[in-house]
Amino acid sequence: MLLEVEDLHVAYGAIRALQGITFHIEEGEIVTLIGANGAGKSTTLRTISGLLRPIAGDIRFQGQSIIRTPPERIVKMGISQVPEGRQIFSKLTVMENLEMGAYTRRDKAGIAAAMEMVFASFPRLQERRRQLGGTLSGGEQQMLAMGRGLMSQPKLLLLDEPSMGLAPILVDEIFEIIRRINAQGTSILLVEQNAAMALSVAHRGYVLETGRIVLEGTATELLENPQVRRAYLGG
C-alpha cells in the first residue's frame, strides 16, 4: 500500500473539518475524493502534505507515519501537491517556478532531466519558459502547476481541483494529462468537484460529506450508484 489514511481527525480551532476518515491508495492507482464545497477534500490534502496537523488518526506513506513530518521532508519522501487554484509564483518565471518544484533535489543533472520531461509533456511551457508565471493563461498556469508538482518526481501526486475555472476543452486536456502521468507510473490522489470527470479517470473513489466518508467503491460502481448520480452527477 502506498498511502494509508486511518481515522483522520483534523480541526481548525473549534471547527471539525475531518471527523475520522479512512482510505488508502495502492501503487499505480488514481484515487479520487469527491464531495461538495466544504466537505473536507482540501483539508485532507493539506494534512497529507504536512501543512496541517491532525488531532487524531494516522497517515502512513509506504508504511511510515508522516503526521509529524515537516512538509519539506514529505516532499522529499515522494509526495507532491498541486494546490487548489494553482498557486503558481506569479513573479517568478516559468523556469523558476519549475525549479521551485525541484527545490528538495540537489542533483543538477536530475533536475535538468526532469525539466526536459516536463517540457516534453507541456510544450507550451517551454515556449514561455522565460515569461513570468502570472502572465500565463489559466490553462497554462494549471499545466505549470502540474509540471512544477512533477519536478520532484513524486511517487504520489496530490491534485486539488485541477479543473477549477477552466474551459471544458481545457478540462479534457488536463484529464488526458492526468491519465498520462499515471501511465508513467505516478500514483495520483485527485480531489474534484467535477465528479463525472474525476470518476472517468480514477480507478477508485471515495465520497466525502462534511468530514466523513459516506461511500466508497470502484469508479464504475460510484458512477452507477444512484445516490452519487443524484448528488454529484446531476441526475
Binding site: S49, G50, L51, P70, P71, E72, I74, V75, K76, S80, Q81, P83, Q87, F89, S90, K91, L92, E96, E99, M100, G101, Y103, T104, R148, S152
Partner: protein
C-alpha cells in the same frame, strides 16, 4: 450594462486624472525647486549638496534594503533594524581602535556580528509570533529596538557616551572644479554598489534567492514545494543585517561620532525611503534611499536652520507619500489573501 460599467469606471478615471495632476505638479515643483536652488547659491554649491545627498542615500539604501526584504517576506516592519546598524558601527569601532584592524576586516566583522544578532533576534523575538496578529510582532520589534538601544548604553557594554570614531584610513579630499569629493565618498559608493550587486546576484540567481522570492509571494505554496520557510526567513534577516552592519560602518566613517542611539534617525529615514520606493520592493528601496539622502542634505544646505529641520522634512516626505501614493514609487497594491 453600459451605465453600470461607466459608473464603475468614472471614479477610477477621475482618481487617475487627479493622480496625474499631482505627479505633474510634483514634477514641475521639483524642476522649479532645482532651478531656484541653483540660482540661489550657484551650481557648484547645488551639485555639492546633491553629491553629499547621494552619498548619504547610499548608506540609507543599505539599511532600507533590510527593512524592505524583511517586510516582503514576513510583513513585519523590523523597527530594531536601525539598532543593528548601530551595532555594526560599534563593532567596527572596537575592531579598529582596539585591535588595529583595517577597513575590510572591520566591515566584514561588523557584518558578521550583525547577522548573528539579527538571526538570534528573529528566532527569539519574532518567530514565536509568526501566527500572532501583526500588531503583536510590530510592538515586539519596537521593544527589541529599545532593548538594544538601552542595553548597549550600559556602562559595561558600549556606554551611553558619544564616542569619536577613528577612521581606519586617512581622509583625502579632491577638488574637482570647486566640488569636493573625499575618498570617504568613493569608498561608500564602491562598497554599497558592490554589496548591492552581490545582493542582486543572491536574490535572482541563487537557489536560496529564488526560494526567498517564492516565499515572499506565497508561503503555504512555498512549503508545499519543500522550501524550509523558517530557514528562508532567517536567511532574509541575515541578509538584511549584513547590509545594515556594513551601512553602520560606512555611516560612522562619514560622520565619526557614534552613540548607541545613532541608529534611530537613519533607521527611521531608511524606513521612510523603503516606503517611498514601495515597501517590499528592492529596487524601490534603493531609489527611495537616494531621494531621502538628497532631501536630507538639500534641506540642511538650503533651508534656514535646516540642520534642525531636516527630520521634519524627511517625515513630511512620508506623509506626502501616504497621501499621494501609499504603495510608493514602485509598489503595487497588496491584495489581502483570504
Amino acid at each position: 450594462m453600459t451605465s453600470i460599467t461607466r459608473s464603475l469606471a468614472s471614479p477610477k478615471v477621475l482618481l487617475r486624472a487627479v493622480a496625474w495632476a499631482v505627479y505633474i505638479a510634483l514634477g514641475v515643483g521639483i524642476l522649479w525647486g532645482v532651478v531656484a536652488l541653483v540660482r540661489l547659491q550657484g551650481p557648484v554649491f547645488f551639485l555639492q549638496a546633491v553629491l553629499d545627498g547621494l552619498r548619504l542615500g547610499f548608506v540609507y539604501a543599505l539599511i532600507a534594503l533590510g527593512y524592505t526584504m524583511v517586510y516582503g517576506i514576513v510583513r513585519l516592519i523590523n523597527f530594531a533594524h536601525g539598532d543593528i546598524f548601530m551595532v555594526g558601527a560599534f563593532t567596527s569601532f572596537y575592531a579598529i581602535t582596539q585591535y588595529k584592524w583595517g577597513f575590510f576586516p572591520a566591515i566584514l566583522l561588523a557584518m558578521f556580528v550583525c547577522v548573528l544578532l539579527n538571526v538570534v533576534i528573529e528566532r527569539v523575538a519574532y518567530k514565536p509570533l509568526r501566527n500572532a496578529p501583526r500588531i503583536a510582532a510590530l510592538i515586539t520589534a519596537i521593544g527589541v529596538s529599545f532593548f538594544l538601544e538601552y542595553f548597549t548604553a550600559l556602562k559595561w557594554v558600549f556606554s551611553a557616551d558619544y564616542i569619536t570614531y577613528q577612521r581606519p584610513f586617512k581622509v583625502v579630499v579632491w577638488n574637482i572644479k570647486g566640488i569636493l569629493i573625499s575618498n570617504i565618498t568613493v569608498i561608500i559608493v564602491i562598497t554599497t554598489v558592490l554589496l548591492l550587486l552581490i545582493l542582486r546576484y543572491i536574490v535572482y540567481n541563487t537557489r536560496m534567492g529564488k526560494a526567498m522570492r517564492a516565499t515572499a509571494l506565497d508561503k503555504p505554496t512555498a512549503r508545499l514545494m519543500g522550501i524550509n520557510v523558517d530557514g528562508v526567513i532567517s536567511f532574509t534577516f541575515a541578509l538584511g543585517a549584513a547590509l545594515a552592519g556594513a551601512g553602520g560602518v560606512l555611516y560612522a566613517i562619514a560622520f565619526p561620532q557614534i552613540v548607541t542611539f545613532m541608529g534611530i534617525m537613519p533607521g527611521l529615514k531608511a524606513f521612510v525611503a523603503a516606503v517611498l520606493g514601495g515597501i517590499g520592493n528592492i529596487m524601490g528601496a534603493f531609489v527611495g534611499s537616494l531621494l531621502m539622502g538628497m532631501v536630507d542634505v538639500l534641506v540642511v544646505s538650503f533651508v534656514p536652520m535646516g540642520s534642525r529641520l531636516r527630520d521634519l522634512f524627511a517625515f513630511l516626505v512620508l506623509i506626502i507619500v501616504f497621501l499621494v501614493k501609499p504603495t510608493g514609487i514602485f509598489g503595487e497594491p497588496e491584495v489581502e489573501k483570504v
